[in-house]
């Protein structure tokens, strides 16, 4: 048995008196300051932490890790998530004491090495995106979006232009776009895509006026299609006095090919955990630097690094800055990993990223289009969308195919997204995968397409080989059990429930 059947929580492995950590002794045991502290400041009941020795804790977590798919064990064709290889050298770098043990309150003179890295990374990101300045502070893509929307708000208001209350987003956009705009109190206007899965210029123009704050756009969009009217789009938006926000989730398609800055975007956020190889960590931490055109520099969050001669210092704070979006300087450990990645690849390796990612995606699309229809059958960039609408009559949805792929050893593609495609399967192979892996994946999807015809129950009931079958999500939401205390209470409640006596 490779995967442990033990499904106990760490709390259920506890035995009084055990510990997993060795700690030093007190220096002033004679007058323990805790004992002399006014009792009102002390906790009344100890935290009910588990009591487990180190070997059992290690076994617990190692066994948990084996219940996960990961990029180092499986192919993840997860559209818009850019699940590329996370180089081990990056992890080595982040673990060096000269970086991991640097305290963020240290004075400038003692952090010149780290400031050099932040400064250089900013230069790299600028040249790759065509933007003039970057803040490295945002902790994730959605945090970058929030920062970007704050910049847009601050810019319009600085000009006394307070009527701009609308944010335009295409119907194919990521969910974070409208959620972020709403967080700042903007009214969200959703634009219908055209038949080619792109922004409809006429529709866009019909919504642009003096109340428009910005258009948020991903390019290539979530269909994996380059917005071929991009120059007309940016022109129209600027003519209306609105700004252009670039959601950098799909930048992996464009490195060395085209730059959002040249397209006319005013603000760009990047997801370093996508394009620049920092690990996803099972859902974070990420990093979401935000780039801007020169005229927006005064509004950027602080602190910003500047170079004077060969030394680095924190730039003086601009009065117009939107302020601080996070304590300290951002997810520095992630910035260091991205820096390491870029200096490893160098200019040729960076260009090869997007070239290979685009070739891999088009190859997959070409080989799969007789298996399942492509939503918009054109040359794609780094990803594409298949539709499973034909199988709907059999009661099979794109999510079911995703589950069945798990049985074949592949992570599910992004399913039921983008919302503009009925029964979408969004596939992004990245440049990390070899042709052989893609061929095996194609064979698996071909086999599943056959199963849909011949034995749909195999797909409907999938997965069959994972540590669990499909969890009952309705039950989880109806009666949320979110902690071990909830587990105990539930168990006690069930034990107390009267058992009906036999007639």
């Amino acid at each position: 048995m490779l995967i442990s059947k033990d499904d106990r929580l760490i709390f259920e492995k506890s035995s009084a008196g055990r510990t997993g950590a060795g700690l030093p002794t007190a220096f002033i045991a004679a007058k323990n300051p805790f004992k002399t502290l006014n009792p009102k400041f002390r906790r009344k009941e100890d935290a009910q932490f588990p009591e487990v020795a180190e070997p059992e804790i290690i076994r617990h977590y190692v066994n948990l890790s084996r219940k996960n798919f990961s990029i180092d064990t499986h192919f993840y064709p997860l559209g818009s998530c850019t699940m590329k290889y996370n180089p081990k050298l990056n992890e080595w770098a982040a673990a060096q004491e000269g970086f991991s043990q640097v305290h963020p309150h240290q004075p400038e003179s003692t952090i010149q090495g780290y400031m050099h890295i932040l400064y250089e990374l900013e230069q790299f990101l600028k040249t790759m995106t065509g933007m003039d300045h970057f803040t490295l502070q945002p902790a994730a893509g959605a945090h970058g979006e929030l920062t970007g929307m704050m910049l847009i708000h601050a810019y319009h208001h600085s000009r006394g232009d307070t009527k701009r209350r609308k944010v335009l987003v295409p119907d194919s956009s990521h969910g974070t776009n409208p959620a972020t705009a709403a967080l700042l109190g903007y009214e969200v206007v959703t634009l219908k895509s055209n038949a080619r899965g792109r922004v409809d210029l006429a529709e866009l123009k019909s919504h642009l006026d003096e109340t428009s704050a910005c258009l948020m756009l991903t390019n290539p969009n979530t269909m994996g299609l380059f917005e071929s009217d991009i120059l007309e789009i940016t022109k129209a938006v600027h003519q209306a006095g609105a700004l252009l926000y670039y959601d950098g989730a799909n930048l992996n398609a464009l490195l060395g090919i085209a730059r959002p800055g040249d397209m006319g975007f005013d603000i760009v956020h990047l997801n370093l955990h996508k394009t620049f190889s920092t690990p996803h960590g099972g859902g974070g931490p990420g990093a979401g630097p935000v780039g801007v055109k020169a005229y927006l520099l005064p509004f950027l969050p602080h602190p910003l690094v500047e170079k004077t001669g060969s030394a680095y210092r924190w730039a003086a704070e601009s009065k117009q800055s939107v302020g601080r979006v996070k304590s300290f300087f951002g997810n520095a450990g992630m910035l260091l990993r991205a820096y390491t990645y870029i200096v490893t690849l160098g200019i040729d390796g960076i260009k090869k990223i997007s070239e290979d990612a685009v070739i891999n995606a088009n190859y997959l699309k070409e080989k799969l289009k007789d298996v399942l229809p492509v939503a918009v059958d054109e040359v794609c960039m780094h990803e594409f969308v298949l539709t499973l609408k034909a199988a709907k009559a059999k009661g099979i949805h794109s999510g079911d195919v995703g589950k069945r792929l798990l049985d074949y050893g592949y992570h599910a593609p992004t399913v039921h997204f983008p919302l503009v495609v009925d029964e979408a399967l969004m596939i992004e192979p990245t440049e990390s995968e070899s042709r052989e892996t893609l061929d095996l994946f194609i064979a698996a999807l071909r086999q599943i397409a056959r199963e849909i015809e011949e034995s749909p129950e195999l797909v409907l009931g999938a997965p069959w080989t994972m540590p669990i079958g499909r969890p009952d999500e309705v039950k989880a939401a109806r009666n949320p059990i979110l902690t071990y205390r909830d587990v105990v209470r539930e168990r006690e409640k069930n034990a107390k429930e009267p058992v009906a006596s036999k007639p």
């Binding site: 000269g98 043990q101 601050a154 960590g281 974070g284 090869k352």
Partner: protein, 445 residues
């Protein structure tokens, strides 16, 4: 390039299968004026060269490992058992995606569930989410929750809350119709009760305290939750998780929401990030929690199973109607904290808190005996305290750094006029030799 497996031959044959004669054929949809931008990037380096480069750059930073550091102020040097990084370094954890496919992510989901359980225990509250970016953004999210929940428009915050956190709050609220009002603290750093009660009224959505506060002082919050609830507001506490091994919990103070920086729970100081935003609340507010939640359920065979739950709050379902725009959390940092708390266990977490108090009190008493330094010995503290020096902190800092000591954080940059005051922190990591050396160096300043 060794991260990119496609060879020139692979590409040629793949392009042929695609029906393209060259790679440029695939770019026809892109306006020609945009193609082939000039990038200013260095040439590739080998791994040998990069290791040398990074060793050199790392060597240009001092760090808390090769000095004696008394820095705190929102980032704390604590003992991290080796077992923590051996688990977070498991590829199955750190190279996994967000657990949207629960069947293929039970490891991450169970670890998050256990993290939530441990944080709720520590905070003395009912529920915890799967984490936020850091303590400051957790606090901002808590303020937004209070504003939404009460339908009111004002947040009242103590000036003794970490200045960075108040800056982030201000950033999050700017451009909205919401306002932020601050109330004062007294000379020795506890909040001023009169100033607070004068400003408390029924326009207030949420009241924010930090304990121990930015000056290290344990706030006496007796009676505060009743007063806050009496005007219909929520009480939000920003706490230092390590202290809660021994000190009164947000739950025991009657808080509705507790937030905090989770970095002290097994995460290195790493130049300020990635860190871990803790966020805990009561069952009554669970459906307003921003960010992810892992829940326990069953699969179709009745087997124990974990999944993300109450997702109807989240952006990928609700889009502009979501409770927040959060997509990622800090899962790997939450894993580190979960492993750390499990290793410490019931006894260890209490002992670490007591050891912090031990080191800080030992140091405070010694510094109190120095000429030119004044400390308030009667003020209740955890592991940080303010030293009032008779000369500017800058001078002290310079002399200490020459001796490889980081003496603490100057308060002048956060509170103008306090250029002679500094904040000193001593955690369980400090040895008696380091503490005594620091006192000796201070005595010569």
């Amino acid at each position: 390039m060794h991260y990119q497996p496609l060879t020139a031959q692979d590409k040629e044959s793949m392009l042929h299968e695609i029906g393209a004669s060259s790679f440029n054929d695939l770019l026809k949809g892109i306006p020609a004026s945009l193609l082939n931008p000039t990038l200013t990037l260095p040439p590739a380096l080998s791994e040998i060269e990069i290791q040398a480069l990074l060793r050199n750059l790392g060597g240009r930073n001092k760090n808390v490992g090769n000095t004696a550091s008394f820095l705190g102020g929102g980032s704390y040097e604590h003992f991290i058992p080796t077992a923590v990084s051996s688990i977070t370094g498991r590829h199955e954890f750190y190279t996994a995606y967000t657990p949207y496919q629960p069947e293929a992510a039970q490891g991450t989901l169970q670890a998050i569930f256990e993290f939530q359980s441990l944080v709720a225990e520590l905070m003395g509250l009912d529920v915890s989410n799967a984490s936020h970016y850091d303590g400051s953004t957790s606090l901002a999210e808590a303020a937004l929750l209070a504003l939404r929940h009460t339908g009111r428009s004002k947040i009242l915050v103590s000036e003794a809350v970490n200045p960075h956190y108040r800056q982030v709050l201000k950033t999050y609220l700017q451009g909205t119709s919401f306002t932020l009002e601050e109330f004062r603290f007294d000379a020795e750093g506890g909040f001023n009760r009169d100033a607070f009660f004068n400003k408390l009224n029924d326009d207030i959505a949420g009241v924010i305290f930090q304990t121990p506060n930015f000056f290290g002082v344990l706030e006496d919050l007796e009676g505060i939750s009743d007063a806050v609830h009496a005007v219909g507001a929520l009480l939000i506490l920003n706490v230092y998780p390590t202290s809660l091994g021994a000190l009164r919990t947000p739950g025991e103070w009657g808080a509705d929401v507790a937030v905090g920086e989770g970095q002290p729970l097994g995460i290195p100081v790493q130049f300020g990030g990635p860190y871990l935003g803790l966020f805990a609340t009561t069952r009554a507010l669970v459906r307003r929690v921003p960010g992810r939640l892992a829940g326990l359920t069953e699969d179709k065979d009745g087997k124990r199973a974990f999944c993300l739950t109450l997702q109807a709050r989240e952006q990928h379902i609700r889009r502009e109607k979501a409770a927040s725009n959060i997509c990622t959390n800090q899962a790997l940092c939450a894993l580190a904290a979960g492993v750390y708390m499990s290793l410490m266990g019931k006894q260890g977490i209490k002992k670490v808190a007591e050891l912090c108090m031990d080191r800080a009190h030992y140091l405070r008493e010694k510094i109190a005996g120095l000429k030119g330094c004044r400390v308030a010995l009667e003020t209740p503290i955890f592991n940080e305290f303010v030293v009032h020096a008779s000369q500017p902190f800058e001078v002290i800092e310079k002399k200490c750094i020459e001796k490889n000591i980081f003496p603490g954080i100057g308060l002048g940059k956060f509170y103008p006029g306090r250029e002679n005051d500094f904040l000193v922190c001593a955690t369980e990591t400090k040895t008696r030799e380091q503490l005594d050396l620091f006192v000796e160096v201070l005595s010569q300043c």
